[in-house]
């Protein structure tokens, strides 16, 4: 089939040049498109980690300000400073681990009920009621000279509460 015309007609059997040129221009065209996409993508890609809620290190205050078994909100930093009954500290992110709503602290129920999808977290950030898939994120805590400092730039994801996450004096 394909040979027939080239033998009977005057066409020499050299589809190569035209085919080759077509192939090259298509290839170049695709390279151009890829370049364009790459350049646009690089231009549009989010730079840095701005807007991560990271306000650097937040000085929460002297240790004595936080009574054991208490929860103190830091809305500007986007976290709750929790002091457990044994005196240990946890800095819980106020972003629900489900879809990112801000969870309020309910003193009456001693829990964080998410207003968006009814997840409930306990005082240590553990999931008490789904659909949240994991515990509330943590921020790193350092206690220097009796002052509690929370590094909101360092968000720690975790599946559930473990004793090692608590910071003691």
């Amino acid at each position: 089939m394909t040979e027939a015309p080239s033998q009977t007609r005057r066409d020499p059997p050299r589809p190569d040049r035209r085919g080759f040129l077509a192939l090259v221009s298509k290839g170049l065209g695709m390279v151009a498109v890829a370049e364009l996409l790459g350049v646009s993508g690089a231009y549009l890609w989010p730079r840095g980690r701005e807007g991560d809620g990271g306000r650097g290190v937040v000085e929460a205050g002297p240790v004595g300000d936080f009574t054991p078994d208490s929860v103190t909100p830091f809305p500007q930093g986007g976290f709750y400073l929790v002091r457990l009954t044994d005196g240990g500290f946890l800095a819980l992110s106020s972003k629900c681990s489900h879809l990112g709503c801000t969870v309020p602290w309910s003193e009456a129920n001693r829990s964080f009920p998410c207003p968006c999808h009814a997840s409930v977290f306990d005082m240590r950030g553990d999931v008490r009621s789904p659909p949240a898939p994991r515990a509330l994120d943590l921020f790193a805590i350092a206690i220097e000279g009796g002052i509690v400092k929370v590094d909101t730039g360092r968000r720690v994801r975790r599946a559930r509460f473990e004793a090692g996450q608590v910071t003691y004096l």
Binding site: P46, G51, Q76, L99, S106, P115, C116, H117
Partner: protein
Amino acid sequence: MISTETPGAAGASGPRPGAADAEKAAGRRPAGFSTLLLHLHPRAVPAEALAFPRTFGLGGIATVLFVLLAATGSLLLFGYEPSPERAYGSVRAIVDQAPFGAFLRNTHHWAANGLLLVSFLHLLRVFYAGAFHPPRRASWVVGLALLLLAVASNFTGYLLPWDQLAYWAVTIATGMLEYVPLIGGTLMRAARGGSEIGSKTLSLFFVLHVAILPILLFVLTAFHFWLVRKGGGVMVPRLEGEERRRAMVPTSPDLVVREGAAALATLAAVLLLAAVFEAPLLAQANPGMSPNPAKAPWYFMGLQELLVHLHPAFAVFVLPLLAAALLLALPFLPLGETPSGAYFHSRTGMRTARAAALAALLLTPLAVVADEAVRHAPPWLPALPTVVRTGVVPLALGCALLAALYLAVRRKWSATRWEAAQATFTFVVVAFVVLTVIGSCFRGQGMALTWPWAVAAPHGGGGTP
């Protein structure tokens, strides 16, 4: 379009083809604008195609709404400032100070919601008419793309007022992306232009909303029109005898007048809605406090309702992807029948679809209420991972239910493959609509089930009573 699917910005196209006809009759070649419009409409259309229930004018209404949205949107653009600091204030100024500003914004709001509703109904209409087989296959696929673009336009517009409603709805809806396996985090950051909703998100959504999406919508709409015309216009029932000729009527005035009437009726309905019902504008966005309940836009409430019940990866990824793939694959599936052109294909088709709709109407609320009990009980088989318990198992149950429905319809009503598939599709659609209604109207504080009259209007407000 109004009576055929042949397009042409209904109202605007009004008398033009008529003028062109007159010119033709006078022996002159029509030129310019009227020639262009004659490319949208054929010179004559089948008389049967003009009957209103043949299309309900849905495609045409959608076109009118699109034009209305472009017009009102352009005007709103003069007053809007796309930065987190000024967006809310500028919208407030449009609403409170600009003459007719609130009316303009209401019109844009109601036309936007109407466009989604009408596009969805258009999809259903085309589905039940069986108007997606070749030669209409490509218009079905492009139509799906248009629906996606309409949703994207609405969603990007949702953020722009920068009030509590906008901020949290977009937080939730973009947060859903994080549950896409592997690339979820990247997707979410790409959608937000960063890891949180902020000025980057606003400029991204703004550009998409006022430039990129409208241009895509315009181009694809034109393509859709062309494909509809190529596909033979609106679907009409097959003729019995080969030799019988279809009765044809001239496009102008028969079709054009009907299009004009439908366009004016649409316009009147939207303007009336806009005059009576205000578009919501809550307090300025406050990232520190989620309103209770915080809800996604209504067209995502079906998904949000699924999220309450199912594992997130299934609710926002597996199920939507399955549904989208099936919709896209529909005209390529071997359903083995040429469409009859009648709605629901046949008597059996109508009966089975009605039965499936009823079943979904009953079973979906039952399932929601039953799951409420399951969720608050201690987990069954706690050894099972959550993915299996709230993802794999419900999916398997759902698939088994649909398969059972399909087989039951085939046995009991001795339905054809197409009729059974249609009944199954009906079940899924009705279930999704019911979920959307439950999520929007029956979920109150803390997303607990309540009666619609007990769901307080969202004021971004506070404590539990």
